[in-house]
């Protein structure tokens, strides 16, 4: 009778729970980094493969982690691909002090179903892990000024920038309203010195002045000025070609602008000996564009 009861007695653990009947083929423990600094989080991962399908795992004894602060502990029991259960646990730890710390193996107590007599066993990961904890170094971000200082600096720079922009816009607007003097229009200075002055004019005035100068003294440099003035009027950006610009010119007057722009491109990029003739051929198109703009 005593022998009968001995075989059926529940074996209790220290915590009072009952040992499970398990066959554990894998029990490993790993670190995502072997060297950390004090306060730097790292992960300790525990993995077990259990032959049985289970919904909970009791009696897993974690190693002594007193040298660390435990930031989080995630446990997952998932069915194995073919059979059994996969147990994964990830502990996020932080070392409290510098030094070399050994983490002893993890263990699971259970009745070993692979044992013919199904005796209680202690399954254990094979070896201890070692973490090298370095003293805390000052992070590069600590050396930088605080966020408040950055914000103050940015606010200052933005304020100065806004003042400069406002001043420039005011100056530009005043100059746009200034009419060019007759002396300016009749001036036959070479094109490179004109280009700056033309840049200060309103687009229509700029084109009219460039075309007038081109009619008076046809030159390649002046043809380039006309092309730049035309591009400015149709709002061509620095990286835009003629085709880009033509795609967005609205229908009223589109043909006039297209002809003028194409004529300007031809006058500027055609073979050098053919440019004088190309400029003369382009003048009527430029004139038409000026008229359209002035209307």
């Amino acid at each position: 009778m005593a022998a009968f009861w001995k075989g059926r007695l529940f074996i209790c653990t220290e915590a009072g729970g009952v040992l499970q009947h398990l066959a554990i083929s894998v029990l490993t423990m790993s670190l995502d980094r072997a060297t950390v600094t004090v306060g730097q989080p790292f992960h300790l991962k525990i993995h077990a493969h259990i032959h049985q399908r289970i919904s909970r795992l009791d009696n897993l004894t974690l190693p002594d982690l007193v040298a660390f602060t435990e930031l989080s502990d995630e446990r997952h029991l998932t069915p194995g691909r073919h059979a059994g259960t996969e147990y994964n646990e990830t502990l996020t730890l932080q070392a409290n002090d510098a030094g070399t710390i050994s983490i002893p193996p993890v263990s699971i107590d259970a009745f070993n179903t692979q044992d013919p007599e199904q005796r209680p066993s202690r399954f254990s990961s094979t070896e201890s892990l070692v973490v090298h904890v370095l003293p805390r170094t000052r992070a590069p971000s600590d050396l930088l000024p605080s966020r408040w200082w950055w914000e103050m600096l940015l606010a200052g720079v933005a304020g100065v920038g806004a003042l400069i922009l406002a001043g420039w816009l005011a100056l530009r607007t005043l100059r746009h309203f200034r009419k060019p003097s007759p002396a300016e229009l009749s001036e036959s200075a070479p094109a490179p010195t004109r280009s700056y002055e033309l840049g200060q004019l309103a687009p229509a005035q700029r084109l009219r002045q460039a075309v007038t100068l081109l009619e008076r003294a046809p030159s390649i440099a002046q043809a380039e000025e006309v092309r730049l003035a035309l591009r400015a009027i149709v709002g061509a950006q620095e990286a835009e070609t003629l085709e880009d610009v033509l795609n967005r010119i609205p229908e009223p007057g589109r043909a006039t602008w297209e002809q003028a722009l194409r004529a300007a491109e031809r006058a500027v990029f055609i073979e050098v000996s053919q440019r004088p003739a190309a400029i003369l051929e382009a003048l009527p198109y430029f004139e038409r564009a000026c008229t359209l703009l002035e209307e």
Partner: protein, 310 residues
């Protein structure tokens, strides 16, 4: 304009009578013929890549050969081989399909590297060596290769040095709704007849001569160089920029485009519109394009747009 019999624009029109849409493909093929280079068409199946090549070859009227590249293809299947004649006791040479004016290398990435190398050597040197004898390839000699980027199983990626041999790489895209309707109409009674002998080989050679004489302004030259140099700056997604071969390719293609449009001078538009097809396949991108899920075309466009137009 030049004294050639048929202008290149007429060839373009005749090809468009067969191919619906695919403006980039038709233009790319014509530019490759005019500039004397080779073209790589990349796109999913069913987008008329092969048909476009066949239509061009038929319209040119030269000798056309098509080689379907497969994993078991051998270099001798392309370039030719020596055969021992038992009667005469001597070797005779059997020239391969590469001896053609237009060679269509269909699905070029399905053949192993040794076949690709044999072909690409011929593309560069324009001659083939079989045994102890070198044979010059016909002039003009244009390779039009197609590549399907979707089925990568059982393919051999073209090495960068070989990609560089292609003057331009045209990415073939799906037709629009309207174009697809026209395709339905045009192909309702089967494949329409291909345009035949629209131009002659002499016309093609005359175009080439004329294209080389097209004027390229100093500002346009600087624009071309600036675009190529923009690919060599340190960039998050680029490991290597384009070589001087790309500079030469961009200049010759810009001249060819000017000729195609009936101009005897190059415009910034010629350069800008071709920069993507010339540079896209010559740049070496790094893994970040995959991890950041960045489209390569967008990077090339951004680089080109960073250069001011003269």
């Amino acid at each position: 304009m030049p004294p050639f019999v048929t202008p290149p624009a007429q060839l373009a029109r005749s090809i468009r009578s067969t191919i619906v849409g695919q403006v980039g493909v038709v233009e790319g093929l014509l530019l490759a013929v005019i500039a004397g280079g080779h073209v790589l068409l990349e796109g999913p199946p069913g987008l008329a890549k092969t048909l476009a090549c066949r239509a061009l070859a038929a319209a040119i009227g030269g000798r056309f050969q098509r080689v379907q590249f497969t994993p078991d293809l051998l270099p001798s299947d392309v370039v030719g081989t020596r055969i021992f004649d038992q009667k005469s006791g001597e070797f005779s040479v059997a020239l391969g399909p590469i001896f053609a004016n237009v060679l269509l290398a269909d699905e070029i990435n399905r053949a192993p590297a040794k076949v690709q190398s044999a072909l690409l050597e011929a593309m560069q040197e324009r001659q083939v060596t079989i045994g102890p004898t070198s044979f010059a390839l016909p002039d003009p000699f244009v390779v039009m290769a197609t590549m399907n980027p979707l089925d990568i199983d059982g393919t051999y990626a073209l090495p960068q040095a070989q990609m560089d041999r292609f003057l331009l790489n045209v990415i073939v895209d799906y037709p629009s709704h309207a174009e697809e309707l026209v395709i339905l109409e045009r192909f309702a009674g089967g494949e329409p007849p291909l345009p035949t002998n629209v131009v002659t080989m002499e016309d093609v050679l005359a175009w080439r001569k004329e294209a080389r004489a097209i004027f390229l302004d100093e500002k346009i030259k600087a624009y071309i160089v600036n675009i190529v140099l923009a690919t060599r700056v340190k960039h998050r997604y680029l490991d290597r920029g384009a070589s001087p071969r790309a500079t030469l390719a961009l200049a010759s293609l810009a001249r060819a485009r000017a000729l195609l449009e009936g101009r005897d001078y190059v415009l910034p538009d010629d350069v800008r519109s071709l920069a993507r097809v010339v540079l896209g396949h010559r740049l070496v991108f790094n893994y970040r394009t995959v991890t950041d899920q960045i489209a390569i075309g967008a990077i090339v466009d951004e680089l080109i747009a960073s250069v001011p137009v003269p």
